[in-house]
Symmetry: C2
Subunit: 424 residues, 2 copies
């Protein structure tokens, strides 16, 4: 039996206890959240992981996506990326390889991490069709469902599945047009397939079958965002909203069937549309966990997209997004290096915390830092810093003569001057 | 005669024409803005600079602060920081040295830049008092006014002057207490002086005299924010608001007298108080240009404070802040290196642009990038990128086999798949 059914029957499972303990909420809060679909706890019968709850009332979580591409297939580097992501404090890992031996790469990465792992099964199905049959449009839906089950058995905890790109959604896209085109790989594969075969998306048409597979292997269904904007000028458009509406309907169905859900969201969104995206998403999905990809608030800063995403993600988590997918500085330019993976996770963790300061009023560490700075207590400052090593390194490289202060102000440290005169 | 008087008489000066041209607004819009104190154009009779307007209806500007401290005095490095700041696209430069030969450092830095330069004259006055008389509390107000005039003659365009920390403000601070203490060096020097001498702040008490000096040398008065919070838990507190009210009164007076003004603001502010800070600041100052320092939206990410400030600055510029002071990754830890100066400016420029996308609806470059990406036109992408070199470098290090796409998706580029099927 799955977590949702347990929760509905009033059973608090071990996973729910762990989440309650980690988050400082009651076990019953978590149980009710799981039962109602407001909280999702990715698990797998095939693998032990660091349990991580995602959803309402819980700390905002950060996902790091890694994976090979056709240009670069280096399993050791992928394992190093997984390691860097975990080191930097990612909560989950998506393994999105599109080059090399899929099964082997995923097996090795899964072995190398204790984090909850996600995948996108349709990549493998479409790419194998391209390799074996000469085109993604020759993908056989049976292979797609078979691969979904196979990936589940590797211990995959959640899967991004593009159910919402159906004929209805595609009509919206075609009627409307787009400035930045379609940038989701899954979305692109599926629309190409639908256009060529003049058939409905099998993940939509055979959704009940999909649910059976996911339920059997206890996989969390993360509704893919195939219509997400790839440019701020396409944000919050009719195609995106149409897909969201379809996914929201299916998510209720999944929840009733006992499959845990997450709903993915865009993408590229200008600052003044982020709140609307969160409110609408939460409303139409009946408060399912919201997985925000970025969002990027401007398109013109390639090379800095981790910082750009941190701006958007801070706001989206403040407004209620539960889970954010990191963006690395290499986004839009190249496959990220392990260092860029690390940087991307750090930027997202900052954003998640900034959001939690608002959403959950989690400001205790900030208060501690304020006091530690006032008291010029460097050990306490480092202890509460999100990345103590980085902070120490910068200070140690330029250690001041007077070790109370820092080299920024030297003898003229405001705090030292004032501490003599005030008694805060 | 100064710009304000010219503007009030209906004269459009050369500086106003340059600002109108650069910003794509009418000359009369700029003239009216200057007359009413909503727009400030720092100038100097002693030096030619790149003219830069700050205020309502204009692009958000970015300041980079540099300067020695008692631990590190290296003029060549300061010149390199000035160069890096300009290279990265800063609009103004504040030279805030507190160590070494002040006059010589400022002269050399001013020679090395074409940007508008700001200073804080009270640093020199207090530090010379400490050096020559054994304590900042022995500072002679006559020296402070003399130094203000001397710095003006070097070609300083704007000065941060701490007029608002008077006995009234200090009472608020003492009655209230603080989590993070007082973190403004100017604020700390002045409160220490006032407490020791049991006298009113001379910059407040002799404000008319100050205005005469500034008017004579055409210096823009940037009202210092001595009570700014140094911890998010002190944000928007009574001491900060009291200082703002005092400064707002004085700013009207300055404007009437023909001295251009800017009002500095905090500091450390949690995400949900930024809008209130901007609205209140704009309201009580009668829409004077608002110079936001940061703001930092969390205290616990030392080593990443440029990214943290970019989050706050994006929001504050979206809501109406006109001018933002950068923060470097070394903030709270050490004096920044030239590389950190560059990074800090880039983070702030991103924030300024993200704000301008909302405040001014400036989204043309984003639209161009969306189209260039859709068309896989890399030259156009680099041309419109905020930092083309950085973007090129990342892509070139990992150049794909098929040079249309990038190594992130390799053969399975969504855009390539979709462009074959759709006709956007």
């Amino acid at each position: 039996m799955g977590l949702i059914e347990d929760a509905k029957r009033g059973i608090v499972t071990e996973e729910m206890k762990i989440v309650a303990e980690k988050e400082g909420v009651t076990e019953d809060f978590v149980r009710r959240g799981v039962a109602e679909g407001h909280i999702t706890i990715p698990v797998s019968p095939y693998r032990e992981i660091k349990i991580c709850g995602i959803g309402e009332g819980l700390r905002t979580k950060v996902n790091a996506s890694i994976g090979t591409s056709t240009d670069f297939v280096d399993i050791d580097m992928e394992i190093e990326k997984a390691r860097q992501a975990e080191l930097a404090g990612a909560d989950t890992l998506m393994e999105l390889s599109t080059g090399g031996d899929f099964l082997e790469i995923r097996r090795r990465v899964i072995e190398a991490t204790t984090l909850s792992v996600g995948s996108v099964p349709l990549y493998q199905a479409f790419i194998e069709a391209a390799q074996k049959k000469g085109g993604v449009v020759f993908m056989d839906p049976d292979d797609l469902f078979r691969i979904t089950a196979e990936q589940a058995k590797l211990g995959t905890n959640f899967m991004a599945i593009h159910t919402g790109i159906n004929l209805e959604t595609m009509k919206r896209l075609q009627n409307q047009g787009r400035h930045g085109g379609l940038v989701s790989r899954g979305g692109a594969f599926m629309t190409a397939w639908m256009l060529h075969n003049e058939q409905e998306n099998p993940l939509y048409a055979e959704f009940d079958y999909l649910l059976e597979i996911l339920k059997e292997h206890e996989v969390t269904l993360s509704f893919g965002n195939g219509m997400r904007a790839g440019a701020v000028h396409d944000a919050t458009d009719r195609a995106q909203l149409q897909e969201l509406i379809i996914n929201a309907e299916l998510a209720d169905k999944a929840n009733d069937f006992g499959v845990q859900t997450i709903i993915e969201g865009p993408g590229h969104i200008p600052l003044d549309e982020i709140q609307a995206n969160v409110v609408v998403q939460k409303r139409v999905t009946n408060r399912k966990p919201f997985y925000m990809l970025g969002p990027l608030v401007t398109d013109i800063a390639p090379g800095y997209d981790d910082r750009v995403a941190a701006i958007g993600a801070s706001l989206s988590s403040a407004y209620g997004a539960d889970f954010i997918c990191y963006v690395t500085p290499a986004e839009h330019l190249a496959l990220p290096t392990p260092e860029e993976v690390y940087e991307g996770v750090m930027s997202s963790r900052i954003a998640a915390h900034v959001g939690d300061m608002i959403k959950l009023k989690k400001r205790g560490d900030d208060l501690e830092m304020g006091h530690a700075r006032r008291d010029l207590d460097w050990d306490r400052q480092f202890a509460v810093a999100m990345n103590p090593e980085r902070a120490k390194k910068i200070r140690d490289e330029r250690m001041p003569a007077d070790t109370d202060g820092c080299t920024m102000c030297g003898d003229y440290c405001a705090l030292k001057i004032v501490n003599k005169n005030f008694n805060f």
